[in-house]
């Protein structure tokens, strides 16, 4: 099936109000997702969160080098390319975080001695980049038909100096924040799969609870976009 589905969804949490696009309190930016847009990878997806955009491609299950082969499960590899310049140490660190999150949900034991490669290309970065990468990776894995035990999503939140929480921060909000926390949550039990933080803070639970509430919207968006795609065929 070569059809593309472009799904737009404006997601707002109950408290988000105001004439400005981001009211005080919790609200996520405009989401958009496009699947099956590249012809060579087995699965591909482009995920947009506000102005942040990441393109993901998945190859797999495919041939694996004997040195990287694991006898009873698939070898997962993640490659993250920044928008400008060569990949550096920060990209390696993010690749490790995304890879471990994918490994926790992908049913690798169904495809032993194969490799599943997720390639992420940053198209534009306007805040919450790691969360957007996680969402794009999940949508691309679904598009490729890789068996998974759950879907996962990334949610970023920023804590500013007076303790207010902002979900899905823009680059400006991230720079001014005291701390930026990114969580990866699974769709079945909203369990915490991965967490990466930057800055000084003291209250993790409040941020985690807000992220879990926001993840519901992201999963609803996944479900709606997939329903729309498969109902056409």
């Amino acid at each position: 099936m070569e059809e593309e589905t472009h799904t737009d969804a404006k997601i707002r949490a109950e408290n988000g109000t105001g004439s400005s696009p981001r009211g005080p309190g919790c609200s996520l930016r405009h989401f958009a997702c496009e699947q099956n847009l590249l012809s060579r990878p087995d699965g591909s997806a482009s995920f947009l969160q506000g102005d942040t955009s990441v393109l993901a491609g998945v190859y797999g299950p495919a041939e694996v080098k004997v040195s990287k082969e694991i006898f009873n499960k698939a070898t997962l590899e993640v490659i993250l390319r920044p928008k400008i310049g060569l990949p550096g140490v920060a990209e390696k660190s993010r690749e490790r975080l995304i890879r471990n999150t994918c490994e926790a949900v992908v049913l690798g034991t169904l495809h032993p001695r194969t490799s599943i490669t997720v390639v992420l290309q940053v198209v534009s970065d306007a805040g919450s980049l790691l969360a957007c990468c996680l969402n794009a990776a999940c949508m691309a894995l679904v598009d490729a038909g890789v068996p998974m035990r759950a879907l996962f999503c990334g949610v970023a939140c920023a804590l500013d100096s007076d303790g207010t929480l902002v979900l899905d921060p823009t680059s400006k909000q991230e720079k001014e924040a005291r701390a930026v926390l990114t969580f990866a949550l699974d769709s079945v039990e909203r369990k915490l799969l991965m967490s990466s933080t930057k800055g000084l803070y003291s209250d993790t639970e409040q941020c985690l609870a807000a992220a879990q509430a926001a993840s519901q919207h992201v999963f609803r968006f996944y479900r709606e976009s997939l329903q729309r795609r498969y109902s056409k065929s």
Binding site: K92, A179, S196, L200
Partner: protein
């Protein structure tokens, strides 16, 4: 008998110990290994420290050099950490460019320095816009037996406390820097971040200071870095590995 069981079913062997709330090396679940620190052993470095957490050994050497500051931060110096995991420390590392584990550890240490504000970068400024100090912190692992992140953070903190910078004045006539090696002063360390790593077993049990074997058997790891005021500098949870049984 026990050695045979351990080779064939390492996870089951381990679970037998966890049921009794202890570990094969005799420690409690919340107990750290014996920690030793040796400060100032490298005379050619401006600051150094050697940390041993059980068998895990990490040495940190700090060298201070001059650099020109960047134009968007003319009064800030640099702190550049680099973690090296040579083939000496473990059979799983090969010689060549830094592998993934070394790069992740380097990024982790860079994040800890940035987040905890251990050194105010303005303190490293000699002459705004012209000359600043850059501290190259090289962390080399000599023996890898798990919990590398805790050992590296500790070694870095100890080495930075040991660093002595000479006094530098800029001669107005020649515009050259004059270094007075006789007058040295310690760095102003503002906070003392401490890292604690945990291994997660079967999604429920948390074990402090995992050894190499425990890290391999665990479902996931978690590292928390806190400063003395109880603020969290870093919560590093790089995901869960899928349970072996599924």
């Amino acid at each position: 008998m026990a050695a045979g069981f351990k080779t064939v079913e390492p996870l089951e062997y381990y679970r037998r110990f966890l049921k009794e709330n202890c570990r094969p090396d005799g420690r409690e679940l919340g107990e750290f290994r014996t920690t030793t620190v040796n400060i100032g052993s490298i005379s050619t470095a401006d600051g150094s420290a050697l940390v041993k957490l059980g068998n895990t050994t990490v040495i940190c050497g700090v060298k201070a050099e001059f650099a020109a500051p960047s134009t968007d931060a003319p009064d800030k110096g640099y702190v550049v950490p680099n973690v090296d995991l040579p083939p000496l420390c473990s059979s799983r590392f090969r010689s060549g460019p830094p592998g993934e584990e070394a790069q992740v550890a380097s990024q982790f240490i860079a994040d800890v320095i940035e987040n905890s504000q251990i050194i105010q970068k303005e303190d490293l400024c000699i002459s705004p816009g012209k000359l600043v100090w850059v501290l190259y912190c090289d962390l080399i692992c000599l023996d890898y037996d798990g919990n590398i992140l805790d050992a590296c953070t500790f070694a870095l903190l100890a080495a930075l406390k040991n660093v002595q910078l000479p006094e530098v004045t800029i001669n107005e006539e020649t515009a050259l820097a004059e270094v007075n090696l006789k007058k040295k002063s310690y760095l102003n360390i503002r906070t003392h971040p401490v890292a604690t790593s945990f291994a997660v077993f079967d999604d429920t049990l948390l074990i402090v200071d995992p050894t190499g074997e425990e890290e391999h058997l665990a479902t996931g790891t978690l590292t928390i870095v806190m400063d003395e005021e109880g603020k969290l500098c870093c919560l590093h949870k790089p995901g869960m590995f899928p349970p072996l049984q599924s």
